[in-house]
Amino acid sequence: MMKNLLTVSALALGLAQALPAAAQQKVVPAQSEIGFVSKQMGVPVEGKFRKFDAQVAFDPKHPDAAKIAFTIDLASVSLGAAETEAEVAKPDWFNTKAFPQATFQSSTVKALGAGKFEVAGKLTIKGASRDVLVPVALAQAGPATTASGAFTIKRLEFKIGDGDWKDTSMVADDVQVKFKLSLTGVAPL
């Protein structure tokens, strides 16, 4: 019985290794960044999220079968100033008590050639969902694949900066989201 179990386990292990493309790819958090740039009266102000998690199943040869999901811990925002970080946790901004996480769920992935892809999906922040198109460029070096890109969202569509802060002449509606993700286990391009 024990022997059989071991054999089955070994088989399963071998199978998993033989099919790397079907396995989930892993994001290396220490080498990955998700950040944003908002403009306050014309002044670019950068922020970063220190905590996020991703489930990536992606084979460059079969982008149509890809599934990419992100969960970003909004309380982990870093804005370079403690008082600003305390402020954005409040209901007018991220309202992290009620909505601790932002999520992204891909729907389709299109290959554009030369390591470039277009990921369509749903971005959910503060209970509001919007369809977004995310351009992604892949670069591979050894076992590591770096996926980077940027896209723009409208903060008011997610009620980020509500109340007194709705005025877009103070804080621009457009917020640029930037990311650089280090992935392991991605098949060669």
Binding site: M41, V43, V45, E46, A81, D164, W165, D167
Partner: protein, 183 residues
């Protein structure tokens, strides 16, 4: 254009009063805004204060060039120590016209907020982002601004003393109206 003898040039007079109003207003906004809680009002005032500071810096450069190329009227008769005190005050005032905005600019840039003049023109940051240095610049921006305020008070007190006690017409040299209409 040659000014009447004993008067500053019209350009010098205009720059003097324009900068007087700008510096006093910007100082008062600076005092008021620093204790405000995080709000659109605070963000707005901080940016206005920075734009005003950079404008004062630029106008002070124009003023210094004008001062270096145009002789002011000769000193009125007064004790030598008063002349020295007046000239010393003027030198320090000019120094602070540059130092206060420049250190404020360094404070903003080192705190991670580059100045975008009037919300459209990004200005270069001549220091790198460094939170510890930002605190140092912040403190010096305040010390120098208080120093400037003290010098301005001395300057005004001396002018009032000349006008009210000495009655020597010193103020008319910097007064915008023609000579006949002395204050």
């Amino acid at each position: 254009m040659t000014p009447p003898a004993g008067r500053y040039t019209l350009v010098a007079i205009c720059l003097h009063w324009l900068l007087a109003v700008a510096i006093v207003a910007t100082f008062c906004v600076g005092l008021y805004m620093s204790d405000l809680p995080f709000s659109p009002q605070r963000l707005k005032l901080f940016n206005w204060h920075k734009w005003a500071g950079v404008t004062i810096l630029a106008l002070s450069a124009v003023r210094l060039l004008w001062r270096l190329t145009h002789r002011p009227p000769p000193d009125l008769p007064m004790p030598a120590w008063q002349q020295r005190a007046a000239h010393g005050t003027h030198h320090l005032l000019y120094l602070l016209f540059f130092a206060v905005p420049l250190v404020g600019w360094a404070y903003s840039a080192s705190a991670g907020f580059p100045i975008v003049l009037f919300g459209v023109l990004p200005l270069p940051s001549f220091v790198s982002v460094d939170k510890e240095m930002a605190e140092v610049y912040k403190a010096w921006h305040a010390y120098l601004a208080y120093g400037l305020a003290a010098l301005v008070l001395m300057h005004v007190a001396a002018a009032v003393k000349h006008q009210v006690v000495d009655r020597d017409g010193l103020l008319s040299r910097m007064w915008p109206a023609p000579r006949g209409a002395r204050p």
